[in-house]
């Protein structure tokens, strides 16, 4: 019998080694896998490469992971926020490597990794500093920049409901990077609000099929609220 359900966030992340590349879902607070990030902080792996749209807010979650010196490099589109002081300090001190990627290119690199695409030409960033050093090509009169897929060892995402096969549904704009990140990692871990019986999720409403998901952890609403 297939069961991807794991008892705790700690158990789901226990095997993450030092140096791992980890995709972390979320756009702002929506879709952010708060409990998984906290478990990663407690787990202790270091020298990490983190991929997220942002680079942490305030002093908790991803910001705390950065502040603890556990991250070697961050790949993101929008690190600068009103409350990104931990990232700002580390970046200015040269203690954290930043790879800045336009948001759509970030999403497509993740999608390409999950889809087995070896690279792609995108018009985004042509003629800008973010295309410096990259191969470019003119196709049908339009200029493109060559980009590589972004593979990862782990993905930590937040979904709404899951079944034991790992099928996932999402809620509103909390979907954001979840589906593509699940497909691009060797081990995708989803935290969810609720576990459904197999067959209970409407097959037409499943956004991430279980083939992309290795582990599922239920996070109770009460615990989620406490964490936030």
């Amino acid at each position: 019998m297939i069961s991807k359900l794991v008892e705790s966030a700690a158990q789901a992340l226990a095997d993450i080694p030092d140096g791992a590349t980890i995709l972390i879902g979320g756009f702002g607070a929506a879709g952010q896998p708060v409990e998984l990030i906290d478990a990663l902080l407690a787990q202790g792996a270091k020298d990490l490469v983190i991929v997220n749209n942002n680079a942490g807010n305030g002093t908790t979650g991803l910001a705390a992971l950065l502040g603890a010196g556990r991250v070697r490099k961050i790949i993101c589109s929008f690190p600068r926020q009103a409350d990104s002081q931990i990232f700002d300090g580390l970046y200015r001190a040269g203690k954290l490597e930043l790879e800045l990627v336009p948001q759509g290119t970030l999403a497509e690199r993740i999608r390409a990794a999950g889809a087995g695409i070896g690279g792609f030409y995108t018009p985004t960033a042509y003629g800008t500093p973010l295309a410096d050093g990259k191969e470019t090509r003119e196709l049908n009169g339009k200029h493109y920049v060559f980009e590589l897929p972004l593979h990862a060892d782990y993905a930590l995402i937040k979904a709404d409901r899951a079944d034991r096969w790992g099928n996932l549904t999402y809620r509103k704009t909390a979907r954001n990077f979840g589906p593509i990140m699940a497909s691009a990692a060797k081990i995708a871990v989803a935290q969810v609000r609720e576990i459904a019986e197999l067959g209970e999720l409407d097959p037409e409403a499943i956004v991430t099929p279980g083939i992309f998901v290795k582990r599922v952890v239920r996070v109770s609403a009460a615990a989620a609220k406490e964490q936030q």
Binding site: S77, F78, R80, T128
Partner: protein, 218 residues
């Protein structure tokens, strides 16, 4: 210059040019104001890059849903007909040429439509690009909304951008507090002016050769 438009008046001027049936992305900052001025008799679908078409206005206090936010990470609402989708689909809508308009803020726009709006290039500045480059290269029409001059009185419409570029030859129209500029292959056209600003003064402030094509009845 006198009688410049307020930010809300600028937003209303942009909104007037968004037609019925358009799919539109409003960038963070000043352009978000445009949503408050879209004519009620036009059906216009707002796109937000974090995965939603059919974005509605801000919710009433107490009705916020943390899973329902816009690109500025502010709470929004959904309208009848709303669709949610993941990030790769959201940016396919831009790059794939499906989005009719985007409205972006800017540090500078050049006379040939180059856009600079993501980075000042200052040594200690934290760079952040978000979806700006994807929007600039993907939307069918890129509108910029900005004050014509900096606080120091320098024109932000320039012969050539000095800040790092967001996109090359991508801007089609620039809405400012003093005038509206259309950027065409054969030059920059002034298509609307506000208050009592004179053509000569616009040329002096921008330092650009301008052509004037202002409809008589405004």
């Amino acid at each position: 210059m006198s009688a410049k438009l307020t930010r809300d008046q600028m937003a209303a001027r942009v909104a007037r040019d968004i037609p019925e049936g358009a799919y539109v992305n409003l960038g963070i900052g000043l352009p978000t104001l445009v949503a408050n001025h879209l004519p009620a008799d036009r059906e216009i679908v707002l796109h937000t890059e974090n995965g939603m078409l059919g974005m509605g206005p801000a919710p009433a206090k107490g009705q916020e849903d943390p899973d329902l936010i816009n690109a500025s990470k502010q709470p929004v609402t959904q309208v009848p007909g709303t669709a949610f989708f993941h990030h790769a689909d959201s940016f396919a809508m831009m790059r794939g040429g499906h989005l009719d308009f985007c409205v972006l803020g800017a540090f500078q726009v050049s006379m040939n439509g180059d856009l600079a709006n993501w980075h000042t290039g200052a040594a200690d500045a934290i760079p952040a690009v978000g979806g700006a480059m994807d929007l600039a290269s993907g939307a069918k029409q890129v509108f910029v909304m900005m004050e014509l001059t900096t606080r120091e009185g320098q024109s932000k419409l320039v012969p050539q951008c000095t800040y790092p570029l967001t996109g090359v030859r991508c801007v089609s129209r620039v809405y400012t507090d003093a005038a509206v500029f259309d950027i065409r292959p054969d030059g920059v056209y002034v298509i609307d002016t506000f208050g009592d600003i004179e053509p000569a003064e616009l040329e002096r402030v921008t330092g650009l050769p301008l052509r004037f094509e202002i409809p008589v009845a405004r």
